[in-house]
C-alpha cells in the first residue's frame, strides 16, 4: 500500500504540492486530474522518490520510500513516463528487458534469467508487442512505443504503477486497451496504479478514485461521481462543464460548455 502524508514539494521557493495526502489501496486505480501546473506530475514523481519531499512522507507498506534502496523500490514501484529518448537503435525486446534490471542478482553486471524472459514474454504478449519484439524502437509509431514503455513497466512486476499521461500519444482504441491492461493488473494481481491524466472521461471510466488538484492543493478526492461535479470542475479548471452519465457504463461523463462566438 502506498500512502502520502501531508506531502509538500518545493522547487526553490515555488511550492508545487502543498500538504497533500493520499492512500492507494491494492487493486485500486487513482487518477489525478487538474489544470496544467497543478502539481500532478510532481506528486507522481515524489511517490517513487524521484523528487524529494520538502515536508511530509511517502510510505510504501508503512516504510518511508526514502529508506528503500533504489533497486528494491524499483521492484515495487514502476513508472510509465512519456516515451523514451532514443538515439541508439535498440529493439523492443531489449527495451522491455530493461524492466528486469532491478531483479538482477548483483548490482549491475549480469544476464537475464529464464524467469526474466518468461516475464518479458508475457508482457509482450499482453501489450500486443510480440510481433514487434525484434523491431527497432525508433522505427515504431508513437503508439507502439508507448505500449513498449508500458510493457517495460509491467515487466518490473511492481505492485504499484505510476503512469504520467500514458495515453497522450495513443489513438482511441489503444487508449482504452492500455488502461484496460492496467485495470486487469490491478484486478488479477492486486496491483494498484496512480494515473496522471488530462482525459477526465477516461479517468472516470477506469479509476476507483479521482484526486482533483489545483495549484498544488487538493480540491477534492473521492469516487468519480463525487469529484466530477460541475462545481468542483469549475473551481479547478475555471470552465463550465455539463456532467451526465456514460450511455453504456453510467460513469460520469463531462462535456465542456464553451461560449463560442457564433
Amino acid at each position: 500500500m502506498l500512502e502520502a502524508r501531508n506531502l509538500t514539494i518545493k522547487y526553490g521557493r515555488r511550492v508545487a504540492v502543498a500538504g497533500l495526502s493520499l492512500k492507494l489501496q491494492s487493486g485500486k486505480i487513482i487518477a489525478i486530474i487538474g489544470p496544467n501546473g497543478a502539481g500532478k506530475s510532481s506528486l507522481l514523481r515524489a511517490l517513487n522518490g524521484t523528487v524529494q519531499a520538502a515536508a511530509g512522507d511517502v510510505l510504501l507498506d508503512e516504510q518511508p520510500v526514502v529508506t528503500y534502496s533504489r533497486r528494491s523500490l524499483s521492484r515495487r514501484i514502476a513508472v510509465v513516463a512519456q516515451e523514451a529518448d532514443l538515439r541508439f537503435p535498440i529493439t523492443v525486446l531489449e527495451f522491455v528487458l530493461g524492466g528486469r534490471y532491478a531483479w538482477s542478482s548483483n548490482s549491475a553486471w549480469g544476464w537475464e534469467t529464464v524467469r526474466d524472459l518468461e516475464v518479458v514474454q508475457q508482457v509482450l504478449h499482453e501489450t500486443d508487442l510480440e510481433e514487434l519484439s525484434h523491431r527497432f524502437l525508433n522505427e515504431l509509431s508513437g503508439g507502439e512505443r508507448q505500449r513498449a514503455v508500458l510493457a517495460r513497466a509491467l515487466a518490473t512486476e511492481a505492485g504499484v504503477l505510476l503512469l504520467d499521461e500514458p495515453t497522450a500519444n495513443l489513438d482511441l482504441a489503444h487508449q482504452a486497451a492500455l488502461l484496460m491492461l492496467v485495470r486487469s493488473r490491478c484486478d488479477t494481481r492486486a496491483a494498484s496504479a496512480v494515473v496522471v491524466t488530462h482525459d477526465i472521461n477516461l479517468a472516470a471510466e477506469f479509476a476507483n478514485r479521482i484526486i482533483l488538484m489545483k495549484e498544488g492543493r487538493l480540491i477534492a478526492s473521492g469516487a468519480p461521481e463525487e469529484v466530477l461535479t460541475p462545481v468542483l470542475l469549475r473551481e479547478a479548471f475555471a470552465v463550465t462543464v455539463l456532467v451526465d452519465g456514460h450511455p453504456v457504463t453510467g460513469v460520469p461523463r463531462i462535456t465542456p460548455v464553451h461560449e463560442m462566438p457564433r
Partner: protein, 352 residues
Amino acid sequence: MTSAAAVKTGGGAGILDARLTFRRMFIACLLLLIGLLLIIFGTSLMGSEQLPGRATICALVTYGDPSCGLRPDHEAILFDIRLPRIILAASVGASLAAAGASYQALLRNPLAEPYLLGISNGAAVGTMLALVFFAGNEWSRPMMAFSGALLATLVVYRLALGRAGATPERLILAGVIVTTFLSSVIVFVTTLMDATRIRSFTFWLLGDLSGTTSSMLTLAVAFALLGTAVLTINARSLNLLMLGERDAFDLGVEVGRVRLVVFIAASFLVGSSVASSGSVGYVGLVVPHLVRLSLGSDNRITIPAAALAGAIFVVIADTLARTVIAPRELPVGAITALVGAPLFIYLLRRGI
C-alpha cells in the same frame, strides 16, 4: 492467459533465442580477440625495416629463441621497438574505444568521444603540467592525465547541462569550447616551456606511439584491462542510462553512483592513453559506431567488443603511420582522424 501458456504459444522460442547471453558475448569477443592476436602477429612483420620473415615468425612464436637465427639488431627492432609499440597501440585503442562507447551511452550521444569532447586535451594538459612540475616522477604523468581528463569531463558535462538536460548539440558545443580552449593551452605551454622536456605540440594534438618506456607500457595495458572491465561491469546500468537518466532511475539504477564510476573509469582510460601516446582522435567515435552497427546496442557486448575492435583499429592505423612514407613517419592521430572525421560528418548529417 497465464505466463506459462504465453511462453508455450506465441512464438516464444524466437524471443528466447534472440536475447543476448553471456555465451554470445563471449563468442563475439573471442573472435575479436583472435582477430587482434592475428593482427598483432601480422603487423609485427611490417615496418620501415624489412626483417627476415621466417626468422622473425620463429622469434615471435618462441619469444626470441636464439635458434631462430634472427640477427641481434633485428631482434632489438622486433622486441624493443616494434612489438612494444604495437602493444601500446592496442591498449590505447582499447582504452579510447571503451571510453568512447561508455561516454556515448552515459551522455546519450553517439557523437560523444574523448577527443571531440576535449577530454583527451584535458589529459594532455594534465600530463604537461606533470612534466613541468614533477618531471622526475614518472607516476605523476598518468595521475595528472587522469585528473585532467576527469576535470575536463566534468566541465563539459556541466556546460552541456541545459534546462532540457544535455542535448547532443549542447554537448558537442561544450566539447568544442573545451577542446579549443585546452588546445590553445597546449600550444601556449609548448611554446613557452622547455619543449625538449614536454615534447612538441603535434604529439599532444595528434598523438604518437613511438618511444614509450616499459613501465608506461605496463601501465597502459593494465589500465586498459582494468578500465574496460569496470565499464563492462556497469554495462547493464549504462543500457538503461542510454535511454535517459530519469528512466534509469525509475528502473532502479543508482544514477549518480554509476555516472561517477563511469566518468572515473573512462577518465583513467583516456588519461593513461594520453600520458603514453598523446591525443589520438576519433577512435572512440569510429569503433563503437561500427560495433553497434554489427552487434547491436547492448553495452554488455558493445564495451568489451569496442575495446578489442579499438585495439585492432589503432594497431592497423599505427602500422600505416609507420610504413606508408617509411622511413619517415606520420602521427597516428592523422590517420585515425582521416577515417573518423568523415564518419563524424556522416553521423551529424544523419541527424543523430
